[in-house]
Amino acid sequence: MLSFVAQRVLKGVIVLLAIVVLNFFLIRLAPGDPAVVMAGEAGASDQIFVKQLREKFGLDKPLPEQLFIYVKGVVTLDLGFSFRQQAPVAKLIGERLPATLLLTLTAFAISLMLGILFGTFAARFAGTFLDTAITIFALIFYAMPIFWVALMGILLFSVTTDWLPSFGYETVGANLTGLGHVVDVVKHLIMPAMTLGLFFMATYTRMTRASMLEVKRLDFVKTARAKGLSDAVIQRRHVLRNALLPVVTLAGVHSGTLIGGAVITETVFAWPGIGRLMYDALLQRDYNLLLGVFVICSAMVLIFNLITDLVYRLVDPRIEFAS
């Protein structure tokens, strides 16, 4: 178990380093002087700042040395300075990270729970009207662009009915504390989390349904049935448990898409997370900040993948940790 974790962590670190190196070359892909590019449109006119950047990243030195300086910076969590926001990139990201984690994890939990629930229902009543209805809904949600779902949500629940707030993390100027504050944040969280969750819910619904129908035909289910177990017990203990394995794998694969979806969701709902930060960086062509967010997103995906790998091995005792 321990050696497996160590191995996976090591692999993750190597991938992350590779991403940092990729980042280094990405900046040099942009047309023009990398120092000017990093400074962004606002900073580029400031000659002193550009000179500082050039010195700091050793841009007059040979490429390998530049790479070394850059990687060393990122490893010590120095992601550079955002001229636009007048703050270190690492600090900006640190401030926004909790909001993104709250949003993505809530969306993930919602999508997984509802997806498995609907998928199980569809499989249980395969071929009936209920199954067809769930399948069609899943297909439609799967084809909707996230930004559009977000806007339709706003149109329905904020503009037309005024049930839910359409933007932000909390009511500005309300200064709520304690339970009142929690309720306020939850109200603001519902729409973004549902928006982000719906697409993945559709995926998990389809996956759970397909996987359950697959497992249902296997011999051990026939054995269970022959033993006289009730249908409910068979569904829950035998079919669902085995059918969930591919769903867990899929959840790991999807972590990158989840982060990408968060960028869009946070942009539409003005949710103060790193996705929104990425959009701001994009608008201002603040490349230093943009690439900083990109590295942190990649790191989050790696950590998430590691966790799903562990969960997978816990759910499926057939896989040994040593491998």
């Binding site: 991938v15 590779a18 991403i19 990729l22 990405l26 900046i27 892909l29 942009a30 047309p31 590019v37 297909l139 439609i140 799967y142 084809a143 909707m144 662009p145 996230i146 930004f147 559009w148 806007l151 339709m152 706003i154 149109l155 503009v159 389809r206 996956m207 349904r209 397909a210 129908l213 697959e214 972590s255 990158g256 898409t257 982060i259 990408g260 979806g261 960028v263 869009i264 942009t267 539409v268 990425m278 959009y279 994009l282 608008l283 062509r285 490349y287 943009l290 690439l291 967010v293 990109f294 997103c297 990649s298 995906v301 790696l302 993948n305």
Partner: protein
């Protein structure tokens, strides 16, 4: 081939998908000829609600531009980007997967680590960074979508080639002294084609979604109107004018849905064994 069309037309999702795709393609190809209204020109007063004037059936946006014209011209961009970026992704993914599967050993290891690396990077974030750095244009958008979508192709092709490589007819080709390139191109790849076609149809759908998301964030080609751009432009005025965001979104939804249905239909037709499984 006849067999293929027969089973494709037997699957209801395949038929519905084909109809939708044909519609979308005809709109993209002939639409601009029939409705030559430029999507950029101001044709009426701003915020004209839909269904009030037959000349501008879907109303106008904040600048008085024809929403219907935008949707028709947007179809070109969406479909074109979807198809071309998928083609580019195939051109990258198929050779990498084929080489990894055929040569095995160290080549396989190296290529697969490379593929896995690209698969770990959050794809939409990478696409954003790439388009932002290369400057938004139809070329940078196609390139970045291709960069983030080739890894699944490589993995799929590798798996197929790996199993085909040990078949007797391939061994026979090796014994007769055919070159590796010839064996891969003429003997192996044609037989690995059907799952790739299924994947490709789904990739076009994903590419359309990606393009619309990029355009929505303001990373679209500034010279081309696209559905994502229209939704993004209508976002700030959604309280006054719902139609500017609703209609282009429906267009995206329908095209993506159509392609996904085609993917399912193709899956049923080409891989009858797997047709029970969803994705």
């Amino acid at each position: 081939m006849k067999q293929f069309w027969k089973s494709m037309l037997k699957s209801p999702s395949g038929v519905i998908g084909l109809i939708i795709l044909l519609l979308a393609i005809s709109v993209a190809v002939f639409g601009p000829m029939l409705f030559p209204n430029s999507p950029w020109r101001m044709v009426q007063r701003p915020f004209l609600p839909p269904f009030t004037l037959s000349a501008v059936p879907l109303g106008t946006d904040a600048l008085g531009r024809d929403v219907f014209a935008g949707m028709i011209f947007g179809a070109r961009v969406s479909l074109l980007v979807g198809l071309v970026s998928t083609l580019v992704a195939l051109l990258v993914g198929v050779p990498i997967g084929a080489m990894a599967g055929y040569f095995g050993g160290k080549v396989d290891d190296a290529l697969m680590r490379f593929t896995e690396f690209f698969q770990t990077i959050p794809s939409f974030a990478l696409a954003i960074v790439l388009v932002a750095i290369l400057q938004p244009s139809i070329y940078s958008i196609v390139a970045s979508i291709a960069v983030v979508s080739w890894p699944p192709v490589a993995r799929l092709v590798r798996g197929e080639v790996l199993s085909l490589r040990t078949r007797e007819y391939v061994q026979a080709a090796v014994v007769t002294g055919q070159s590796n390139t010839w064996i891969i191109l003429r003997e192996i790849l044609p037989n690995a084609l059907s799952p790739v076609i299924v994947l490709a149809s789904l990739m076009v759908a994903t590419a359309i979604l990606l393009e619309s998301s990029l355009s929505f964030l303001g990373l679209g080609d500034p010279n081309l109107i696209s559905w994502g751009y229209m939704v993004g432009a209508g976002r700030t005025v959604i309280r006054q004018a719902w139609w500017i965001t609703v209609f282009p979104g429906v267009a995206i939804l329908i095209s993506v849905l159509g392609l996904n249905l085609i993917g399912e239909g193709l899956n049923d037709a080409l891989n009858p064994r797997l047709s029970r499984e969803g994705r």
